[in-house]
Symmetry: C2
Subunit: 406 residues, 2 copies
């Protein structure tokens, strides 16, 4: 390992401050903050990935523009209201959140990125939010990561923070992150926000490449219920405070940085899955031997999104028949009689038929909190892995809803 895990989340890297405030967008409980602010004390470069959903929340549209700015300094975020499906007034309100933040910190509107999560279709209580934002400079601290992580939680049951430290040419470089998830988590980014900070010296283009690779290996590999949200956003700020020699794409130092960034995002992604709504199992689904990468992905996602497969896991029933069924309809090239399936390495299906493994051995695997399903299609060298969960009665209960919006 070229890096070490450290505490501190987004404020672990030098020159970053964070904090939170209660505004009343979400809860009526004043102990529960609903606005988060992250600030860099130094000039930064920014990178991002956004939801691929064609219905994009107003903050996504605004941040997509602002992230092109040469010196982004702040991220303002709220929970309780997604500011999605809110039309022109929604865009206006997202900009007003940026403007209030800029005013509070002496920045320009374009130096602020904005995120929202919560209900769809309701306008933000913007006057109240502006008033809160204008007071938020006082909440900022070098220990504020956890407060910020808690302020973006919706149905999450715990705050998600990760940070690592690595050495680049004798200099200590740190990468930190916070995230929120739970519900509507799917590849291609779903009601999920992640904010990444680093004090590495890196140029904007290189940072964007690194972020895109890390997102593909982490947030795009997790799925709970197959839905994709209108607000998903990963934002990354690099402020250069570590003073390392600039990271150049493809060098050994860059690769070490990429590995560290991958780790931070993957850990955050796994925390999101483990905190999925009503989840009782964490399942890694690997597909090997597919005719192509795309086929491997189709197969892995079909298994991971099959409600029947997921219900069986909840019931601790190995039920490989439902996996065969999903493989048959996923569209990937396959021949039934060539399929092998393994549960934590134990062979369940051989040549498309039940193996000699006693049923109880398979049941032991799915009784665990965490296990791996591995499918070999024997069609080629395409491989893909996704991380998913079971599907529980608790999930249905939590998602019965209580009003308009998601």
């Amino acid at each position: 390992m070229t890096f070490n895990d450290i505490p501190g989340g987004v404020t672990a890297p030098q020159g970053f401050l964070a904090g939170s405030a209660y505004c009343g967008v979400k809860a009526t409980n004043k102990d529960s903050a609903d606005m988060a602010l992250i600030v860099s004390q130094h000039k930064t470069v920014a990178a991002a990935t956004f939801t691929t959903n064609k219905v994009k929340a107003a903050p996504v549209r605004v941040s997509r523009t602002h992230v092109a700015s040469p010196d982004v300094r702040a991220i303002i975020a709220n929970c309780g209201n997604a500011n999605a499906c809110t039309g022109v007034p929604g865009i206006e309100n997202a900009k007003r959140m940026c403007q209030a933040t800029a005013t509070a910190l002496g920045l320009k509107e374009r130096q602020v990125l904005v995120c929202s999560t919560g209900r769809i279709g309701v306008q933000l209580p913007i006057e109240k939010m502006e008033a809160t934002i204008l007071t938020m400079e006082s909440c900022l601290s070098r220990e504020g990561s956890n407060a910020a992580a808690r302020a973006i939680m919706t149905s999450d049951t715990f705050a998600k923070e990760v940070a690592v430290e690595l050495t680049v040419g004798g200099k200590s470089v740190r990468v930190g992150g916070i995230a929120k998830g739970a519900g509507m988590i799917d590849p291609n980014m779903a009601t999920m926000l992640a904010f990444i900070t680093t004090d590495a010296v890196i140029d904007k283009t290189t940072l964007q490449k690194a972020v895109s690779v890390a997102v593909e290996q982490s947030f795009n590999r997790i799925t709970i219920d197959g839905d994709m949200s209108t607000n998903d956003t990963v934002l990354a700020l690099a402020n250069g405070a570590a003073g390392n020699k600039p990271l150049k794409y493809g060098t050994k130092d860059f690769k070490a940085f990429q590995t560290a960034l991958d780790h931070v995002m993957r850990e955050l992604a796994w925390l999101i899955v483990q905190d999925g709504e009503g989840v009782s199992k964490f399942v890694e689904v690997r597909v090997d031997g597919a005719a192509s990468l795309a086929d491997a992905r189709r197969a892995a996602e079909a298994i991971a999104n099959s409600t029947l497969v997921k219900c069986a896991w909840f019931g601790e029933d190995p039920n490989w028949g439902r996996i065969m069924d999903a493989l048959g309809y996923c569209g990937a090239k396959m021949r039934e009689e060539q399929v092998d399936i393994f549960y934590d390495g134990v062979n369940a299906v051989k040549h498309g038929m039940q193996s000699k493994t006693p049923f109880e051995k398979l049941r032991e695997v799915v009784k665990q909190k965490r296990f791996t399903i591995c499918v070999d299609l024997h069609q080629g060298s395409g491989e893909y892995v996704v991380y998913t969960t079971d599907f529980t009665m608790e999930y249905v209960k939590l998602n019965m809803g209580d009003g308009i919006g998601g």
Copy 2:
């Protein structure tokens, strides 16, 4: 209406007999039959549609060959075991079911179609089944439809039978059907069996055309959980006992017959949806104004298969935000600000935003047992409709499983 509903299911048309027997493939309860037999007393033409799942059960492979025979006389079916993922012995056993039926009735093996439904991955108890089949001629009667319908039930809670009568050139023509469904129901045919009989005089090619059209409008429009099964089959036999002038494709008489056939299949499909596992709502999802038929279908199916949308319906929460979200990720051409959504004709979303309709009005709609969601994308003239259900805790409970197989 050019036809009347009548009782009698598959034995309503002249010259058809049906019946059932207990073999022990499924339950240990001797009151519960698990084998069904349908026989035509006259020469027939046969048509069929089968699952598009690449993993095809052995009986699907065998029936696909036998349906080409010039004079199919019988359908033998069992529940309790799907005879899927059973390799070469599975094919052999499906053929042995046909052979035993042929022996019992004095037919050739190729004159018998075979279906199985139940667990995946376990070999049939074929000796026991052969012994039962050899006694089944005695169970056949002109009133046997209901017994046959009950014998193919798996998690179904009621038997599904429909029949209609129409007049073709002064002759009474009848069309009847039985079906089983529940669980894994999705467009493109899912753990679903339907057997259609008619005494119409019609040639094989014309019957196949009519069946394909009717399946597309009925069984391919229903979805409960998005999974597609390995065993889905629709079989149709026409024995000409009505003595009508042969139905020619495109004529007025043919169209009347098609309408009647469509009705029988659609009613059976709706019964399947209404009997879906743990279902509490029956929802029609219509998409209008899509850029193409394919786009309309994508959008309708994305809504109908979204677990979040379905959980909200269960909770009687209108939650149009989750529908917007599904529209955004389904891949159909759309612009958020052009989307209108209606709940039983009540406008919920106008130009992609919340309409002026009071929330309580929308809630009243989703409180009903049955309602329609209509989306207008305003992109073109593509239209599609699917029939679906909510998603309940009961569904998860029923699908937790209790062993290998589906």
